[in-house]
Structures are given as structure tokens and as C-alpha cells.
């Protein structure tokens, strides 16, 4: 602490430069934490899912439907305890700029299978009783200013026309990985308005034991192998992961951009530190004359780099944590549970440490090795 006055004075020598360097580090760490959180959120989404839930989709692709008639046959398979189904709706609200997931579900069975979606009992009952009712994620209350009991009209994109629903309930996810800005309505309503085509987008099955998942999935796929709509069945986790793996290259890109940003800032910080030390050649020589050892000067210059990078890291990582939490950011529903994790904090801290070492070590070593007589002679 004795040397704090000296450190503070040196950092305050070019206040604007010090401020900009700290701001650069803060921005780099903010971006690093943000991009890293995209990756961790995608990873969490890919890991979400009960091992006791299977998802069956059309083997040709998820955009191809499956007959609703499969439901009874699936329910009859030994080990299958519940069956539900859903269909992507893809409706837009207002000007359509704010995306949110909306799909038709077999309401009663869907809510039974997903206890993670917590709905007050009265609202659940109201939703189940109203054929044109809708259940919305709690975030949509804030996004659109909706309230329970309100009629909302969506413009259909896959199913053309205006579709009006009455909001009957609001769900709150018990798991952060569940999207909290989705909207669900009754499959029967969709089926009725589209001429009772009897087609579902995907099936969800709750099974008796996770150990039976491979066998039951095989039974399902074998059952429909020679039909016009063969199935592809896997665990819910694998189903979610298949979406996340579509982002696989995005994750790589995010990591690459994150490291590139950090490297660019490293050059800025290192340059600022070297300029700062070079400008003080005479002063460093004077300190050596006074009796400051090489090691102490090395430590002082490294401490300056440390103060800059630690301050920047605290500001950058702290801003990322507070900002995303305060704004409840989820990238329009694409990244539910978006939050800077403790692991990202630790990694950010390690990046800041590496930044400190990489930016400070050259000027610090130069200060330590400075030949006093030559330095004084050159500047006098």
C-alpha cells in the first residue's frame, strides 16, 4: 500500500489514456462474456430435457407432420405412460418484428408432461376450459403489455388468416432453459380451423424409466417404419441438442470472435503500457538511482497493468452480469436463461490475468533491465 500513491500518480498521468485503456479492456471482457454466454446458453439448452421424455418427429424432417392417429398407438406401447403432441404455428403479433415461439398443443396432456411449466391452478383450469384460450410465458406480459383475459390476434404465416385467442393463463418456467416467452394454444382449435387435417408436428412421450428409452424409441420407429410417415424418435435431450447443434458453427464463431476481440484489446493495452513506460524512462532511471530494485520496478509496472486490466475486467464482466439480468435478455426467445455463469466469470478473470501478463510483462521487464547511466545520459 506504501506504493499506492506512486501507482495512482502514474495512472493519473494521462487520465484520458488510462480511461480509454480501461474502457477497452472493459468492452473486450463485456463482449467476451456476452459471446461466451451465447455458447453456454446454447449448451444448457442442448442439455435440457428429461431422460424420461421421448420426442418423435417425422423421419423425413421436422417440417413434415405426423398423423394424429399415431397417438393411440404410441400410448399403447408398453412403458409409455403419457403421450402429447404439438404443432408449430409461427404466428406474428403486431408488426411481426418481435419474434416469439407459438404453437398448438394438446393442452391437458402437454401440461401433465411438462410440470416445469408452472401455472396457477385457476388459470390452468380456465385455459383448459376455453377452446380458443392461450397460455403465455410470463415474459410476454412485459414484452407486449398483455394481461390475462385479453384477446390477442396473431397473423398466421404457415396457417394464413387472423387468429384470435384469449389469454387464460401465464406460465413460469421452473427451469431457466425453458423459454419463458412462448405462447401455447389448443391443438383442437388449430385442427378445427384448418379443416381437421389430423396432423401433428411432433409427439412427446413420458416413459416409465430412462433405462427403457432406447428400446421404446426403437419400438416406435419400427412400428411406423413402413408407413407413409415414418418416425424418428429420441430422448428430449437429443431432440433439443439437435437444435443446438444447428448452432454448432455459431458457437465456434462466437468463441473465435471473442478471442479475436480480446487479442485486439491486448495489443491496445500492451501498446498503452509500453508507451507509458517508455515516456518514463528518465523517471525509472531516477527511481533506480534512489534505490528501487529491478524487481520492485518490475512489480510496479506489472501492478499498473494489473490495476488497468482488473478494473476493466470488473467493469466489463460486472456490466454483462447486471445488464443481462436487469433487462432479462433472452434474444427474443432464442436464448432462454441467458445469464453470465460463474464459469464464464472465472474464465473472464483468467483472460484478464492473461491480458495483464501479456500487456505488462514487456514494459515491466524493460523497466527492470533499464541501464541507469545510459538512460540518464540519453534523456539529459
Amino acid at each position: 500500500m506504501k506504493f499506492w500513491t506512486l501507482l495512482r500518480a502514474n495512472l493519473g498521468r494521462h487520465r484520458r489514456r488510462t480511461f480509454l485503456t480501461i474502457a477497452s479492456v472493459a468492452l473486450a471482457l463485456f463482449l467476451f462474456a456476452s459471446l461466451r454466454t451465447v455458447v453456454t446458453t446454447l449448451g444448457a439448452a442442448s442439455r435440457f430435457g428429461s431422460a424420461r421424455r421421448l420426442v418423435a418427429t417425422n423421419a423425413t424432417g421436422i417440417v413434415f407432420p405426423l398423423p394424429i392417429a399415431y397417438a393411440n398407438r404410441l400410448a399403447a406401447i408398453p412403458g409409455v405412460e403419457r403421450v402429447s403432441w404439438a404443432n408449430w404455428f409461427g404466428g406474428q403479433y403486431g408488426d411481426g418484428k418481435r419474434f416469439f415461439a407459438n404453437f398448438a398443443v394438446d393442452a391437458r396432456s402437454y401440461l401433465d408432461i411438462y410440470p416445469e411449466m408452472q401455472v396457477p391452478a385457476d388459470q390452468k383450469a380456465a385455459f383448459l376450459a376455453d377452446r380458443s384460450g392461450a397460455l403465455i410465458g410470463n415474459r410476454l406480459l412485459d414484452v407486449f403489455g398483455w394481461r390475462v383475459g385479453q384477446n390477442v390476434t396473431l397473423r398466421g404465416t404457415i396457417f394464413p388468416g387472423d387468429w384470435t385467442f384469449t389469454i387464460r393463463g401465464v406460465y413460469t418456467p421452473a427451469d431457466k432453459a425453458i423459454n419463458d416467452d412462448a405462447m401455447m394454444f389448443h391443438f383442437a382449435y388449430l385442427d378445427e380451423k384448418t379443416g381437421r387435417q389430423g396432423l401433428a408436428g411432433w409427439y412427446i412421450m413420458e416413459i416409465d424409466s430412462a433405462e427403457h428409452a432406447p428400446a421404446i424409441a426403437k419400438t416406435v420407429d419400427d412400428m411406423f417404419r413402413n408407413s407413409t410417415a415414418p418416425t424418428k424418435t429420441g430422448t428430449e435431450q437429443a431432440f433439443n441438442a439437435s437444435f443446438a447443434t444447428m448452432w454448432g458453427n455459431v458457437s465456434l464463431l462466437m468463441n473465435t470472435i471473442g478471442m479475436a476481440v480480446v487479442f485486439a484489446i491486448l495489443l491496445v493495452t500492451a501498446n498503452a503500457m509500453m508507451m507509458s513506460a517508455r515516456e518514463r524512462t528518465r523517471e525509472l532511471a531516477v527511481l533506480k538511482t534512489i534505490g528501487f530494485t529491478d524487481r520492485r520496478l518490475f512489480g510496479l509496472v506489472m501492478a499498473e497493468a494489473g490495476i488497468i486490466t482488473v478494473t476493466g475486467a470488473v467493469l466489463g464482466l460486472g456490466a454483462a452480469k447486471l445488464l443481462y439480468r436487469a433487462t432479462n435478455f433472452n434474444a427474443g426467445g432464442f436464448l432462454p436463461g441467458f445469464d453470465v455463469t460463474p464459469a464464464t466469470f472465472l474464465l473472464g478473470g483468467a483472460v484478464a490475468l492473461a491480458l495483464m501478463l501479456a500487456s505488462g510483462i514487456v514494459p515491466a521487464a524493460r523497466a527492470a533491465r533499464l541501464p541507469v547511466v545510459a538512460a540518464l545520459r540519453n534523456v539529459e
Partner: protein, 232 residues
């Protein structure tokens, strides 16, 4: 008893392919409590000799001993620690740190000691009082005159109570009045506080304050003058 002993010192600089012999077997002694002026033309080796005594530079051969410590044989870390305790150095260009106040500049050598903050404060106030600047504690170098800056530099040199104070052209940047103030201060430090002072100067008035004058030419002492009653 000699405080500084220089024995058979040679010092050679290499510049490109050229060898420059500054000293070739130089020997001398400086007594404790003396006030010595080193004079001579540019390039005669005055500043180099001062640097050798301060341990800022090493002789090519020979030994430099100060207060019984063989300075020429110390490691860089040992030299730094030794300098912090035993040597005060004053430069021609003052070399105060512009971002620190007079008080903070004077405090620098004390940061290397185990003194408490209170003890440091007492020492700083005494040192600045000795140089007559106890009313300029919070002033930055840019707010001081050249003479005042040099007095702060002297306070910094004496605050850790070193045995030896070395000054390289301390009046070279000062006007006549400020020079006289600084020289009077040095005489006082020598006479009242018993500091051993070695001053490198071109200025005959400055040299006249010393009790012993040594003239260097091409790395050799060519003349020695003593004030009446001065120790050798």
C-alpha cells in the same frame, strides 16, 4: 578515515569499434565528512567517477569501496539496497517526478524503508524544513522555481539520512541567486549535519564552496586544492 576508497580503477567504454579509456589505474580517497568538488573539462570523467562511487556504473577493473562496502563487487539488487541506505543523489536537471508533489517526491526513498507512515511524515517535514521548503509540501514541481525544485531534490537526497551525498552539476540549470542558495545549503549540510558531499561542477563559485577541489583531465587528477583546515 576515508569514506570512499578508489583503487586502481580502470573504466573503458566501447562505442562501435572504438575503445575509450576513461580511467586507467585511478586511485583516490575521500574522507568522511568532507566536501569535495570534482572539476575538469567535459569528457574528463567527472560524472563517470560519481557514477562509480554511487554504484550506478561498474569499473572495468579495480575496486570502489564506500564505508567499508566493496561497491564494485555488489550485485544489482545489493547495489540498489545499498544506495537506498547510503547514498543521496542530486542531478543537474532535478529529476523530480512531475506527477508527485514535493512531499511525495521526498517520500520516495523512505518507501524503501520499514518506517511507519508517521515516521516518514516526520522525516519528510524535517528534510523539507532543512531546505527551507516546509511551506511547499503540496506543490508539484511545475509550481516551483528551478531553485526550489533543486532544493526539493536535495531534500529527497538527504531524507533517508545517507552518509554520502553526490551531486552532478547541481547548479548547472540555476540562476546566480538560486545557485548561491543551493550552495549555501550544501555547505550547511556538510558543516551542521556532517554529510560527506561530492559535487561535480564546472562552476568555480560552486567549487569554491568545497573544502577540497580535485581537477580531472583525461581520467587523471592533475591538481588538488585544499581550503584551510580542510580534511584531506
Amino acid at each position: 578515515m576515508p569514506l570512499v576508497e578508489i583503487r586502481d580503477v580502470t573504466k573503458t567504454f566501447s562505442r562501435d569499434a572504438e575503445r575509450i579509456d576513461v580511467f586507467n589505474g585511478l586511485s583516490m580517497e575521500i574522507e568522511q565528512g568532507s566536501f569535495t568538488a570534482l572539476m575538469g573539462p567535459s569528457g574528463s570523467g567527472k560524472s563517470t567517477l560519481l557514477n562509480l562511487i554511487a554504484g550506478l556504473d561498474r569499473p572495468t577493473s579495480g575496486t570502489v569501496t564506500v564505508g567499508g562496502a566493496v561497491v564494485s563487487g555488489m550485485s544489482p539488487a545489493e547495489l540498489a539496497t545499498w544506495r537506498a541506505r547510503n547514498v543521496g543523489f542530486v542531478f543537474q536537471q532535478f529529476n523530480l517526478l512531475p506527477v508527485l508533489t514535493a512531499y511525495q517526491n521526498v517520500e520516495l526513498p523512505l518507501l524503501l524503508t520499514r518506517l511507519s507512515k508517521k515516521e516518514r511524515d516526520e522525516r519528510i517535514r524535517i528534510a523539507l524544513g532543512v531546505v527551507g521548503l516546509d511551506d511547499r509540501l503540496r506543490h508539484y514541481p511545475r509550481q516551483l522555481s528551478g531553485g526550489q525544485e533543486q532544493r526539493v531534490a536535495i531534500a529527497r537526497a538527504i531524507v533517508a539520512d545517507p552518509t554520502l551525498v553526490l551531486l552532478d552539476e547541481p547548479t548547472g540549470q540555476l540562476d546566480a541567486k538560486s545557485s548561491q542558495e543551493v550552495l549555501s545549503l550544501l555547505s550547511r549540510l556538510n558543516a551542521e549535519f556532517g554529510k560527506t558531499i561530492i559535487i561535480v561542477t564546472h562552476d568555480p563559485h560552486a567549487a569554491a564552496r568545497a573544502r577540497r577541489q580535485l581537477h580531472l583531465e583525461k581520467g587523471t587528477f592533475v591538481e588538488q586544492a585544499m581550503a584551510a583546515g580542510a580534511p584531506a
